[in-house]
Symmetry: C3
Subunit: 437 residues, 3 copies
């Protein structure tokens, strides 16, 4: 199905797409995102440069399902200075150095006093961990174990120039309108600061998928949601309870750029069309991949698949949530994700949309015996050869199973043929008057 | 269940049956069969010598389902002669040399002019391929690649003395009447010229199966159809649309004599009684075998299992369709099939009919606790031994599962006991008044 | 779940329980039990010393389902004496020496005359086999093949001082009353003479399980039935046809003390709650175990799972029925069973009752999105770490699946978490007002 990739107006190739997605990751990487605040706003602004976004600002204190929109957090600077005035820990070097949602602090203290506010990864001494404390007021620094090991007893000047105040939670949406109001939801979290695979790669893939879809005159309406994890998805769901009923298929996209093979986590329903479509695309690829059952942990499929909503939303990643050593550390930088991997994830998403768009149920109008395909120019005329081609097999399968019960995806699964081959066969048979929808 | 093979009136043994089937293959082998014509008629005439056939002649032009009965093809001679008058390619040597349904030709041409009409197997240079062109008017020769390699530039005298004219399509039927009008359909294609496994071995097995059934006072009516592939099955179905509804079980028999293990291809339904019966017989044999799902390619199960009919008809072969190098070549000669393999296929078919004939649903009349079998002489009296016999296990299984939901085949499957043991146990229990039908 | 083992009033440890169960086996071992008689009565009397039993005496000739209570058998002495007056075979040495239900005999005969009444195990020449003849009047001796080999031609004095006369069949019941009248049935056969694993170990485990349950204020009523195999279970069923309908779960306990891993044989239903509970407990143990489908052979599950009753009763053993060389021989002595193995079987039974007692269906009262667990003190406040604990995963699973369709056991199975963790999570969530029953 690779040849099915549409060339955009600018004639962009798959390689170009990969490079551009990586450039977007690099551009977004330095921003200090969180579940609220200006880093998040600036991120959505940059994404708006790729695909137009409708931005929502939801005030602090708004009740959203079981939660309340928290105060908005912003940070300008933070450091731990030694007696010589050198910044031993410096927010300017990496925004991971500050625990997300840290309250302001300005104090002088010894290492012993400071220690309870320091977070390291003793087994990965060169990496800075990523930590947050959204709902318990505290502050802290994350640093390399090696840095900590070299720190003297102090005293240190400790400063976090942050504000935690009433404001807004921000999220963005992009819609590719389709001929139907049925929606396909693509959701990415945008709350992680300088982490590339988790989830700037997902954001980059989503923007490109949206651009491809916009050129494809889709049947479904595709809604892309860029929102902070958990509270953002919860806020979107709270404000779109009616719309949620229109979501016929959905994907949470994350960890879309590492070098691992693709992993699909089924929706809570387990056998939704999206679950079967992704599995089929992954199988047809002939490459290593993993499909796992739903579990209520990971990304925002947790919210979309909560029992009250139970939306048919799965999650597509490469190496899954928390599955790689660089996960939630400074090791997840732009060098950890590649143009090729993002292009591959994009291609897979695109093929999934090809299945969702093309899946139909046809009826064989000549169901007694096989219709004579040769007469209609649909079959090789020289019999006796055993090398029957995929296209002819696809026609026989479509005819045999188009009994009103089977969709083209059912037929692709049963025949173990690529969906595209089955869909093309159906098109040819319909053209010959042998099928009706 | 081997001991269950009935000895015929003539006291024929399994070995005799194998030898006689092979003799029939050898007798039928030289005839130039096609989907119509005198070779097909002569074939049915010879089969009539084994089991009486009712012959149908369907005129050219008759509309049958989506198809039309084609013109009748007959051929008397064909050759390619070199300048010395030697027949480089000679129909008299092998009827495979002529593409089936070749129109007449009489011309002189160079090798270059002839080449577009020649078919070889470059990777099997000693074998003549089998080719046909039923529905596109053309002519051609099939030959060994080695022969072609030795041919000079020509010119050659090219002659095909064939006729393609209005006539008839011929098929034959043999019915073993049963106590019920429910039918078991056994279908063999008879349109292949000098090919032994595909399908003279199938024809030979069918004739012997019919003879065994005739002596067995069957419950079901068994209908054997010997018809040309595709168009023959379609013609039979077109003329028997009502009767098709009576077909409760069916087998397409082909490739019944090669040295490979048995392969069963399920009906389109997948879990029809025939599907379960054949699987059970193959499993109980303890020998290597293969069971595969239905696919709309292969032999006439394609027609019987078209969605309009969707008959419970599977396909039994040894090495399946197109699965051996000799397939559709001159290598598929009488030496490629053996009396032993045909006897084994026959035995398997016979055991399948034993299941179809014997499958019943009984009701345990003493369902509370186990009935006391010992009192009825059905159980060994000396307790404590662990070597309980198969017959006693079969009785316990039949009693435990004869609750109105389970058939004897269900019980054989659940217990992993041979059907014959289960059926005998049911007979014994019924005799003791513990079961009713 | 091991820490869930309640300490009894006397503060008994698991080791103590193991030792005491083994002591009970040793105490019961010498008695000559059969399906009726004083050995059986004395056995139940000793068990009564552990847990009070209600004893039933059912007269000879009583019709029970398809059977009739047989005459009562008692035996005082039996031997085969040689010419010197030495007891070559002596009932006093082992009660296995006499075929169970042997009629009295007092005769002098040669070895040749005696031979038809002698049973040995030629392949296990040092072991005495166990044989019975309940329903065919005969007599016999069981002996070591080595003993037989050394016996001269005789004559021998042959004496069996037994009586077979109208009397009673005896069985005992112990009930641990629960808050519900729904019953859990634990059934042990008590008809085997000097055999330890089959089934004194089962009896010992059952007595200890009853004592633990009595201290646990159970929801279900637990009924322990100690009855002779086959005829005893049939008698109990015949006299409790109404009560059988109350049995919601059940286990036949046997072979509970050998060194093999645990084996569970499913009830005839195959997916009853007991089947799923035992499978879950065995899986959660992380240790080797086997789960097999029901078959109508083995212990009294044959009767409980006869199609008329079809009770949800499985069978728990270590090495299963007839699965070890010592089975039904003098090798199955108290040295063949260990305190540790019985303690392990007991622990498994106990954990199964924990599942049966704790299994509930809850409803998530905050099903739209995840409820904010942190606010309720149910979730770690420092985000970003990947080492989420089992307790938190259990809460997420319970919330996600408490939709009215899933029980806690369903959730334990889907999440692959131990039932205890799931049940504790449900308790915590219920305490926080997030679940209702």
């Amino acid at each position: 199905m690779t040849t099915d990739v549409p060339q955009t107006a600018a004639g962009e190739s798959r390689e170009t797409e990969g490079r551009e997605m990586h450039a977007l990751v690099e551009r977004l990487y330095p921003l200090c995102r969180s579940i609220t605040g200006d880093g998040l706003r600036r991120t959505l602004e940059i994404v708006s440069g790729e695909i137009p976004l409708e931005i929502s600002e939801v005030p602090t204190g708004t009740e959203v399902l079981d939660w309340t929109v928290p105060r908005e957090w912003n940070i300008r600077d933070a450091y731990v200075k030694d007696a010589l005035g050198d910044r031993v820990i410096d927010f300017a070097e990496s925004n991971l150095h500050v625990v997300g949602y840290s309250v302001p602090v300005s104090a002088t203290m010894t290492l012993d006093e400071l220690r309870g506010h320091l977070h390291t990864l003793p087994e990965q001494p060169d990496l800075i961990p990523y930590r947050t404390s959204y709902y318990a007021e505290t502050w802290g620094f994350c640093l390399r174990e090696n840095t900590l090991a070299a720190m003297g007893p102090g005293p240190y000047e400790v400063m976090i120039d942050s504000t935690l105040a009433d404001g807004h939670l921000t999220y963005g949406e992009h819609v590719v309108p389709g001929r139907s109001t049925d929606e396909v939801l693509i959701s990415c979290h945008v709350c992680h600061p300088s982490l590339a695979n988790d989830n700037l790669a997902g954001v980059a893939v989503a923007t490109r998928l949206a651009r491809r879809l916009a050129e494809s005159d889709p049947h479904h309406t595709y809604r892309f949601v860029f929102a902070p994890g958990t509270i953002g998805a919860i806020t979107w769901l709270a404000r779109n309870r009616e719309r949620a009923g229109r979501v016929k298929h959905g994907l949470v996209l994350a960890c879309a750029g590492d070098s691992g093979s693709l992993t699909y986590k089924r929706s809570r329903r387990g056998d939704a069309e999206i679950d079967r479509a992704v599995r089929h695309v992954l199988r047809s690829s002939g490459r290593a991949h993993t499909v796992v059952d739903f579990s209520p942990y990971g990304y925002d499929e947790r919210q979309y698949c909560s029992p009250g909503f139970n939306l048919p939303v799965g999650s597509l990643t490469r190496t899954p949530y928390a599955g790689y050593p660089e996960y939630h550390t400074s090791g997840d930088d732009p060098g950890f994700v590649s143009p090729e991997a993002m292009a591959d994830t994009l291609e897979t998403c695109w093929e999934v949309t090809r299945v969702l768009e093309g899946n139909r149920r046809y009826l064989n109008l000549s169901p007694y015996g096989e219709p004579q395909l040769g007469r209609r120019g649909l079959y090789g005329s020289l019999g006796g050869r055993s090398d029957t081609k995929q296209a002819q097999m696809a026609m026989l399968w479509v005819l045999n199973l188009s009994d009103g019960d089977h969709t083209l995806l059912d037929i692709a699964e049963k025949s173990d043929l690529p969906f595209a081959a089955v869909a093309e066969a159906a098109q040819a048979l319909r053209g010959a008057g042998l099928l009706k929808e």
